[in-house]
Symmetry: C2
Subunit: 207 residues, 2 copies
DNA sequence: GTTTAAATTAAACGTTTGTTTAATTGTTAG
DNA sequence: CTAACAATTAAACAAACGTTTAATTTAAAC
């Protein structure tokens, strides 16, 4: 867990927002330096290279993510309540780290820079394990259906949100949403409850 | 609907696969020319510029997509069967145009080249309209629930698939999938039926 | 066979790229 | 004060970029 000084963080934050909006290859170190208000040589000086800075950024963010799922377990909640809390956590996390997820998304989908996303893979594995545990708990107590594919539920949760964010211009037009605030509110309310409703319908016996 | 000769198509196809795997900014026109086995000047000669070639490519692909949803309507199917057919269509379409969707995904998410995706937006709108029609048909006949957000169902369908493809390395490890063929089969079988099951649970009254 | 236009080429264009250098300034410790 | 090291700078570097040029080859039309 490396510590960075203020100037290094300036650089990383400027890079994060630019990488997200312009892409890694679409962002020059000169534009990063300008946004971070430092000399272009500082980037190589501090991080070695543009690519190593990307790795540093991803490591910095993903190590932040080591999830505190434990308190969900400790609390006295029904399995369904736990699932709902997990969905809230997923959504707020993705929303809070929008830029990082955008970057990750692209880096994962291209073969160009096959960096070791060990740290990210770890987080994903932890999440999946925690999720599986909750579902099995619900199944054993007879609340959840058993003919389901547990591994494919997180993709449905996260995929729905990511797809909605990726096609934002389309949904803004389709739903008549005009401001940033209204879009965020739609995610917080309608989209979140749609996801919960969907997962609930899939998991829980109706009666 | 512009027609392209064989050499132009060679260029477009080479560009498509490279843009998908390396990104637009990560792909040089020299590498495209090499892959298409043409001189680098041919790209400017035929398309004007690298960027215009991207537009040509997207237009070429999306105009292919003008969906033949109509025959789904004409056939004598229950609303649920229609939904299932639509899901099959979505999935096979995304699978067939994997590269194009990868490119679109990135272009939509960055502010760098705000091209007019009019053609793509049109396809999406048509799809949404057709989908809405089917759902309302099911609701009016009392088969489908009415307390649902129709606009958010396509994001759930497509988002699940796209997320699964984007995080392929993770799911390969998580599910113990080793070959390309096994992965494609998993999509065709398990993933497809998971999506159908999920949407069905959301839509249909249990009994 | 000649004319005309399209296709194709190698070479060069001016930028921009990521990175390095070498010199200078700032800071801290003895 | 000065030695030592970190931080910062402007300038230069070679390489790669997208695009254009000008010359040549190919194909079609008359």
């Amino acid at each position: 867990m490396t510590e960075y000084n203020e100037k290094q963080l300036d650089i990383l934050m400027a890079a994060e927002s630019l990488f997200a909006s312009e892409g890694f290859d679409g962002t020059s170190i000169r534009s990063i330096a300008k946004a971070a208000k430092v000399n272009i040589a500082m980037i190589s000086y501090y991080f070695g290279s543009k690519e190593k800075m990307l790795e540093a950024l991803i490591l910095h963010r993903t190590s932040d993510m080591k999830m505190q799922l434990d308190n969900i377990f400790k609390e006295d909640l029904t399995p369904l309540e736990k699932v709902e809390r997990l969905i809230d956590l997923y959504i707020s996390r993705i929303n809070k780290n929008k830029c990082m997820y955008q970057i990750l998304h692209f880096e994962l989908s291209t073969k160009k820079r096959l960096m070791d996303m060990k740290s990210y893979a770890e987080v994903k594995q932890q999440n999946m394990a925690a999720f599986r545990k909750i579902i099995k708990e619900g199944q054993e107590s007879g609340l959840f259906k058993t003919n389901i594919n547990i591994e494919l539920i997180p993709p449905t949760i996260m995929g729905t949100l990511v797809h909605f964010q990726m096609n934002r211009p389309f949904f803004e037009a389709e739903l008549g949403i005009k401001t940033d605030e209204a879009y965020e509110n739609y995610i917080k309310n309608e989209l979140t409850s749609h996801i919960k409703q969907t997962i609930k319908a899939l998991l829980v016996h109706e009666n």
